[in-house]
């Protein structure tokens, strides 16, 4: 199921993985141990297609993630440090959203079944943010296995769970292995995992220093400490023990392979075939369909709107901020009579620009907080669909604010803003704003100074757009037709085309690790 050869990963000068070789047979359950910074999460993220290796080869069910990313993602379920759930959606809405992303045919029945299995049926309509840590983790497991992946990767799934919740999770994982699912999980909890009778791999400083099928529960913790402390110097004893353990693993893997093959009714060497013939593992339960681009775009937009309808926090903040900006401009510039009418286009667009920055920032922070973008990247979703979905969601929010703001500005400044040309200008200006804003918000949200940095990045880039929008609006208010504003309209259209093209070409680089 997993075949990794000579895998390395560097972050600048720091090497997180320094030549990892790992093979995991179908149906096998492997516990990956190691101290903090050993490279466990990096390895899992590469296997989950969330990060690219610096060198080496990775095959999942015989497929190369670099060549067949979407197909590989259909085969993987990933439980991250974060739940990858949206706090502002209910459990059912979260699972329904991911079901759309994976184009699961029997979504409703599957969601019902999973919620029942993780014991959350009674709380299915509650917002995830009201759940305890244990409940969130159970729902996260449901999300990870929603599309019936044959391989599930779990990054420290027991972290933060009380003993009861940990037992429930263990039962879930045991069920998954019973169904023939391959599991690779990282853990610090040596005693529990070892007593569960699993194959244990120890990673230290980016290298595998130990690999044994069923280490002795009584002696393993001491051995682990020794391995971790001495692996840097690579003592002869540890090396010999690792080699012995690896030999043992090869034999055990052969035996396990046979039993796995028996389970799926195959007589040949399944592991060998899965890595050599690049054929996806056949999961009897999975019915993989290619998700449709527009369905995914719409699912992302609908998810953003649903989250906003639950909280109404972004709309309220943008609207109140916009009204405040209108008031402050009118006080500061003493806008009255003809002066107010002359300044109205500039004040209106400055207000839209400031309020928009606020909304864009919050919208992307909401996505980032629980790892929503990671959840999207794990699904077989086109990066362009993610961009369009987020940009259209932001556009919807901004237009909703403008629907209230424009009539308000009309009354406050005594100008006739409700004209076809002005509304078309507003639409074009807002579309370009949402496009470039979505791209830059995705950048800013990953920086230390996220909220502060977004306007610094965004506003200088918007200058040609704002100039054109203000000049076009002013000309239209003076009685010009759309055809008569000429160049300003063209700048709006060309800006849209250029920025959307740049965003489409570069958005993938921004959201991927």
């Amino acid at each position: 199921m997993i075949d990794v050869q000579g895998l390395t990963k560097s972050f600048g000068p720091r090497q997180a993985l320094a030549g990892v070789d790992l093979r995991v047979a179908p149906g096998e359950c492997v516990v990956l141990c190691g101290p903090n910074g050993a490279g466990k999460t990096t390895l899992l993220r590469i296997l989950a297609t969330l990060a690219r290796p610096t060198s080496g080869t990775v095959r999942i069910a015989g497929l190369d993630p670099a060549q067949a990313g979407a197909d590989v993602r259909q085969h993987i379920g990933f439980l991250s440090h974060r739940t990858l759930l949206y706090d502002d959606l209910t459990a059912e809405q979260n699972l329904a959203f991911y079901a759309r992303m994976y184009a699961i045919p029997d979504a409703s029945a599957r969601i019902d079944g999973l919620l029942e299995r993780v014991g959350l049926t009674a709380r299915r309509h509650d917002l995830v943010r009201t759940y305890s840590r244990g409940m969130q983790q159970r729902l996260a497991v449901a999300r990870a296995v929603l599309h019936r992946p044959p391989l599930v990767l779990l990054d420290e799934p027991y972290t933060g769970l009380d003993p009861l919740a940990a037992d429930a999770l263990t039962a879930l994982l045991t069920d998954l292995t019973g169904e023939g699912c391959t599991l690779l999980l990282t853990s610090h909890n040596l005693q529990t995992d070892v007593t569960l009778n699993r194959r244990v791999v120890v990673l230290n400083r980016g290298r595998i220093v130990y690999d044994a099928p069923h280490p002795d529960a009584a002696t393993f913790p001491a051995l682990y400490r020794e391995l971790v402390q001495e692996a840097g110097s690579k003592t002869q004893d540890a090396r010999r023990e690792t080699q012995d353990a690896r030999r043992e693993t090869q034999e055990a893997r052969g035996k396990r392979q046979e039993s796995a093959n028996e389970r799926v009714g195959e007589s040949a060497d399944h592991e060998l075939r899965s890595t050599q013939h690049a054929a996806p593992l056949q999961n009897p339960k999975s019915e993989i369909r290619n998700p449709k681009f527009l369905c995914q775009v719409w699912a992302i937009v609908a998810k953003d709107i649903a989250a906003e309808l639950h909280t109404r926090e972004i709309f309220s903040a943008m609207f109140v901020f916009a009204v405040l900006a209108l008031l402050i401009f009118s006080f500061a510039l003493d806008l009255r009579g003809a002066l107010a009418q002359a300044a109205a286009p500039g004040v209106l667009w400055a207000t839209i620009a400031f309020a928009g920055t606020l909304g864009l920032s919050r919208s992307m922070v909401r996505e980032q907080q629980t790892g929503g973008i990671e959840g999207l990247l794990l699904a077989p979703v086109d990066r362009a669909a993610i961009f369009f979905g987020k940009a259209l969601g932001n556009l919807t929010l901004m237009l909703a604010v403008e629907v209230v703001l424009i009539p308000l500005a009309m009354v406050m400044f005594n100008v006739g803003l409700l004209r076809g040309g002005v509304l078309l200008t507003a639409m074009l200006g807002t579309l370009a704003y949402a496009a470039v804003g979505t791209l830059l918000a995705a950048i800013a949200v990953n920086t230390r100074a996220r909220e502060v940095l977004l306007p610094v990045l965004l506003l200088p880039l918007l200058t040609p757009l704002l100039i054109a929008a203000v000049k076009a609006t002013a000309a239209l208010l003076e009685g010009a037709t759309w055809a008569e504003i000429g160049g300003w309209g063209q700048i709006l259209v060309v800006y849209n085309l250029i920025i959307i093209a740049v965003a489409l070409l570069t958005f993938g680089y921004v959201i991927e690790e």
């Binding site: 600048g12 950048i443 990953n446 230390r448 940095l453 200088p460 200058t463 040609p464 160049g487």
Partner: protein, 229 residues
Amino acid sequence: MGQKRLVDRALVGVSGVAFLVALGMVFFYAPREATMGEVQRIFYFHVASAWVGFFGFFVTFVGGIGYLATNHRRWDILAFSSAEVGLVYISMTLVTGMLWAKPVWGTYWTWEPRLTISAVQWLLYVAYVMLRGSVLSPEREARFAAVYGIAAFVTVPLSWFAIRWWRTIHPVIVSGEGMALTPKMIHTLLVSVAAFTLVYATLLRQRIALEHERDRLAALRLQDEATAS
């Protein structure tokens, strides 16, 4: 390594000489402009620094595309080294423009479109530098900066269109009807542009070398840490 140093020293020498020649031509060769007088001589620094500044941002744009296409660190180093040097030149453009504007227009600053757009370009690359300082992962920093450098540069043509369509009081030196300059002024301008470009190349090479040294130092530190633990 030895050859590299030789090239660096030669470049420093050539750009130094070129700069001195340009200074000499600006003050002793170029004629005194009839209307504006001596203050017009600032034009040779202003135009040359503006050209090099925009060229520096173009190199940042190319470096960004190169990095996204190849994922090679050398493209990233080229991109941000050029952005930093370009930013210095655009700052010089703004300062020389303001010094020229005071005696000619009677004010250091006016919201004339070309001045405004120069200020916007300056802000764009200040934001670029700020962005680089705000990302923790070096790989992400390079990718984000590449994307921003590309997005920032593609808005430049639109800014130029905006200038054309907006009424301007900026003197038009280059137009379809040819330059409003005497031949000696043109010679001086060309030498100034060449000298500023050579200085840009020298600074760029030094900045790139500095970054390579930083990388080497970081690698040595890591090696040291690994040995110590």
